[in-house]
């Protein structure tokens, strides 16, 4: 029975992918139809849904042709989440909807390109030093030339702008950094695994070759935190790095030591950087500052509670009270208009996405670079989702990062899609091929 299945395994999976994409498409159509009914005749806009359908259909067809053995869940999951995103953005900030749709088209093209052709994976593998230092250079450039597209004085300047387009170098750095770490750790893998096999080799684990990058990463994160006041990006970088080092070495010591470093940095940052002090204070007690610094978190909590079990329906709630609701706090809007059902659905789908991504890595354990790369890319998505979801729900202090695939933001969407594209490519690799 199993040999029969492996003769033509892609058939069922292509059908599964198509079914999921059709359901996702119906979901987007239903929601945007409701939105257009609410808007009435004259101000209707069907562009986002047409763009979504084009992206989903095109992506599916090219993946089917060029990469028949890919994971059938990853692409539909990503399209469902970004369809959700398009619907939310069209509802919250209609002026941005067409722009986001254009980014979606570009991102899907990038996903398909990095999945169906080996170029991106090869680039990440062969030019890691160049890419890594290029990424660092861009980040440094944003320290100096950074701007904030909203133009508010005092807002964090995380963007680099050119010809009316803006992007965040920190986003590009995510993927480049993971590739760099994956190949570095893959090279050190014999040392790591021998240290694991032989407990007597305690000392080799603390050699500068392994401790060096830890300190380097810690330094980069602190730099990001100090110069850019970008708490979210700093946390994502460090957590992903820590978990990746743990995945490569299998040593609990890594997590313990990293936890101590994080707590130390946290305590230090709390007493040194006003931005961190404020975030933590807001988290502990938002209600006494509800009209001031805690306005965003209080409004998003109110929005979540207004949603109830099934939500107000798209366009029928009032999530616009939440500041930057289309970007960082998008989850509050989802919870208000789709209720517990929609909110739980997003968490569940991100969870499945992370599980599938980790599965890609587990299948490829014989190839350290591929395994660590897919684990790292998955962790970026997972950690980022966890931080922003927890932040909006006041489980942890709020850090200003985007919810992958759902939030408004071109560079975030593009980079997330490229990461999934690479995951798709790795998911199609045969772990037993030589």
């Amino acid at each position: 029975m199993s040999s029969h299945r492996s003769l033509n395994p892609s058939r069922h999976e292509a059908v599964a992918e198509r079914i999921l994409l059709v359901i996702a498409g119906l979901f987007v159509v239903v929601n945007l139809a409701a939105l257009n009914i609410l808007r009435g005749v004259g101000s209707q806009d069907w562009t986002p849904i047409l763009v979504w359908i084009a992206a989903a259909a095109g992506g599916h067809l090219v993946l089917e042709r060029r990469l028949p053995n890919h994971d059938p869940l990853l692409f539909p999951l990503v399209m469902m989440l970004s369809g959700f995103g398009i619907a939310v953005i069209d509802r919250l900030a209609p002026v941005f909807a067409d722009r986001q749709a254009a980014w979606l088209l570009l991102s899907t093209a990038a996903l398909v390109f990095s999945a169906a052709w080996p170029t991106v994976l090869r680039l990440l593998r062969d030019y890691r030093y160049l890419l890594f230092f290029g990424g660092l250079g861009l980040l440094l450039a944003s320290f100096v030339f950074g701007v904030n597209p909203s133009g508010q004085p005092g807002a964090p300047t995380l963007w680099l702008g050119a010809f009316g387009l803006y992007f965040q170098p920190a986003e590009i750095l995510k993927i480049v950094l993971v590739a760099f770490l994956a190949s570095y750790l893959a090279e050190q893998f014999p040392l790591l695994s021998s240290a694991r096999a032989n407990r007597a080799l305690e000392g080799s684990f603390l050699s500068p070759r392994l401790i060096g990058p830890v300190l380097l990463m810690w330094g980069i994160c602190l730099l990001v935190l100090i110069w850019q006041r970008d708490l979210g990006a700093a946390l994502v970088f460090f957590l992903v790095f820590l978990l990746l080092l743990y995945a490569a070495s299998g040593r609990l010591l890594v997590l313990v030591a990293g936890g101590v470093l994080i707590v130390a940095a946290g305590v230090l940052a709390y007493s040194t950087f006003p931005v961190v002090t404020q975030r933590v204070d807001i988290w502990i007690d938002p209600w006494s500052r509800a009209e001031g610094s805690a306005y965003q978190i209080v409004q998003s909590l109110i929005a979540v509670s207004a949603g109830g079990a099934f939500g107000q329906g798209i366009g029928q709630g009032s999530p616009a009270y939440v500041p930057v609701v289309h970007s960082d706090a998008v989850y509050a809007a989802v919870a208000e208009e789709w209720g517990l059902l929609g909110a739980a659905f997003i968490v569940l789908m991100l969870l499945v996405l992370v599980a599938r991504g980790l599965r890609v890595g587990i299948r490829l354990t014989d190839r350290p670079f591929s395994a660590l790369l897919s684990t790292g890319l998955t962790l970026v998505i997972g950690v980022q989702s966890l931080l922003i979801l927890g932040g909006v729900m006041r489980l942890i202090p709020l850090t200003g990062i985007t919810l992958p695939f759902v939030s408004y933001g071109g560079s975030s969407l593009l980079v997330s899609f490229v990461m999934v594209g690479v995951l798709l490519r790795l998911s199609a690799e045969d772990p037993y091929a030589i």
């Binding site: 029975m1 199993s2 299945r5 599964a16 079914i19 999921l20 359901i23 996702a24 119906l26 979901f27 239903v30 929601n31 139809a33 409701a34 009914i37 609410l38 059938p72 869940l73 999951l77 469902m80 695994s193 021998s194 694991r196 096999a197 032989n198 099934f310 939500g311 329906g313 798209i314 029928q316 789709w338 059902l341 929609g342 659905f345 569940l348 789908m349 499945v352 014989d366």
Partner: protein, 148 residues
């Protein structure tokens, strides 16, 4: 009035679609798990296993730990082996067991301390059968073949 009804219908449809999407995902995951479990069963059933043995007063007693016997099984200290051997006398890739034309061959991979078959050092590839005991360092493994 009428628009309100349509809007309500669309809300219900949106909720139903969410649930359906999640259910299809769940169903696909379950199906895949079942297939993987079935494949695992087939693999285990068709060949056999290596039973880890324990030397008590020169009598071999199974420890209860066993590894599946694969068409190419490698034994050694490195954790990348199909059967990692936790013994200081084992080399990183110590020995391999391969299936060639319906027979199982044991081969020493030029290990530092050698491999034994029923107590005799293995110099060149040897055919092994049910009940044979492979020795690496202090570890002993008994071959248990399944007859089809």
């Amino acid at each position: 009035m009428d628009a309100e009804l349509i809007l309500f219908g669309l809300r219900v449809a949106s909720a139903v679609l969410i649930v359906v999407f999640a259910c299809v995902i769940g169903w696909l995951l379950v199906r895949e798990l079942r297939a993987a479990a079935a494949e695992h069963q087939v693999q285990r059933r068709s060949f056999g296993s290596l039973v880890v043995m324990f030397d008590v007063d020169s009598k071999m007693v199974p420890t209860g730990k066993r590894f599946p016997l694969l068409p190419t099984t490698s034994l050694g200290r490195s954790p990348t082996n199909t059967i990692p051997v936790d013994d200081n006398f084992a080399s990183s890739v110590h020995a391999t067991i391969t299936r060639r034309s319906d027979q199982w061959w044991l081969e020493d991979r030029r290990s530092r301390n050698g491999t034994t078959l029923n107590g005799i050092p293995v110099e060149k590839p040897a055919i092994i059968t049910h009940g044979d005991i492979i020795g690496i360092g202090k570890m002993r493994y008994m071959i248990e073949l399944m007859e089809n």
